[in-house]
Amino acid sequence: MQVIAIDRSRRRLLGAGLAATVAAPLLGCTTTGGGPSIGRVVVVGGGFGGATAARYLRMWGNVDVTLVERDAAFISCPISNMVLGGHKTMADITVPYSGLDALGVKRIEAEVVAIDAQAKEVRLADGRKLPYDRAIVSPGIDFMFDQVAGLTPAAQQRILHAWKAGPQTLALRRQLEAMPDGGVYALTVPKAPYRCPPGPYERAAMVASYFKQHKPRSKVLLLDANPEIQSKKALFEKVYAEQYKGIIEYRPNNELKAVDAAANTAKLEFDDVKADVLNVVPPHRGAEIARSTGLLNMNARWIGVNWLTMESTAVPGIHALGDAVLSAPAMPKSGHMANQHGKHAAAAIIQLLKGEPINPAPVVMNTCYSFVTATDVIHVTSVHQYDNADKTFKAAAGGGVSSAPSAMEGRYALSWAQNIWSDMLAS
């Protein structure tokens, strides 16, 4: 059975009116050569998935790529816990989109309000319509605030998630700085699956590293809805016991039910916990644009995809990437994995636009580095091979975690950040 899929969409030329409204591509700087484009792809979301897809579509094929992203610059979730620990600044985790602009990606700083899969166009808040042959949705996650009673919009001003790097990262850092010595920082972890499995445990270590040095009588309370640490468990337990004894307290099976914002109190099933700084990471689902487009066909939370092409199983012509996708077995929701989704989708979309066979045996892999002190890091890694019988990616042989935290892996982690940001943003 040879895998061939022909793109049936018509390749319409950009309307003159639209062409005038989008940023002009710098054709002289493209690396894909001249000639007519093989098709138009609109990418929604410029995070690890979307930016990577945009870059690789330009690099690998003469594709007319428009990237719609609301933010002016990329701010990385990975390394953002180092900002909370006071070891890095917001500038260290912010990268401009100018590298993509130079590759001829037409970037539009705007909000997508709808995707019309019938008309094959992406609609922006200002009324603009962007026609596409294929669309990529890499929207990230939205929080299910309604799952936590009392977490009203007003309460969210004080009780932060900081689970999307940006203004909340800095705001949470300010709360930690303002907290008196002897105070309690409580972090609630939602039930898996959630974005960045080791992230909460890294965050606890980073905040503890700050307390240890500057506010040694303070506590970190880790309230986990899950029965155990979700990633690098033995390593985090060892670090907590050896580096942060008396600072970090880990409580499994503690699902947050409600908050009392006025009292800064987390209400758990059997217990109320009052904190000086309460940091709530609510459960997630694929972001709103995925819901309104009808893409959340998995448990009304996640996007189902055909893993050979990353095309939605609900809406033809729309491909989905990153954390919003229902993960394959043992596949984490991580920036690294979203980047891998992006390249895999770019390769498939180019083949589809050209009417040529798609790769029947794709591979993706993951590496997540977590800082446990200002310098020392632990990792988890895995390789995922496509399984033709079960039509999904499966963890391949190998994979594993660090033998121990090390400063050498700390250098690798920062090198990883530099290289993946460069890979996705052509910076």
Partner: protein, 102 residues
């Protein structure tokens, strides 16, 4: 001679046909999975990890294999190397070997 069931032979033939059609992009796609740490097309940023662009194919394959067997100690590559087949490593090595290091 090894006797395979007819269905297995048919499967191999189809597989070979598909793989052949993919030859142009196979190495490129696989090598792209390395870029997160080793740079786009093997052009690594910084001097912490080795650039793979321009590395002779034999050297990349033997290094990869040494990670796989444990002969070469590593923090992470011994775990990653086991996840790729020898054929995949060969395609990756061929792709990086012809990239010109910048």
């Amino acid at each position: 001679m090894i006797h395979l069931p007819r269905t297995a032979i048919a499967g191999l033939l189809v597989w070979a046909g598909v793989a052949h059609a993919q030859d142009a992009n196979l190495g490129r796609n696989l090598a792209a999975t390395c870029a997160n740490c080793h740079g786009t097309n093997g052009q690594a940023r910084g001097d912490t990890v080795p650039a793979l662009a321009g590395m002779p194919a034999e050297r990349l394959m033997s290094t990869f294999n040494a990670y796989k067997t444990g002969a070469l100690p590593a923090t992470i590559m011994h775990q990653i190397a086991k996840g790729y087949t020898d054929e995949q490593v060969k395609a990756i090595a061929a792709y990086f070997a012809v990239q010109v290091k910048k």
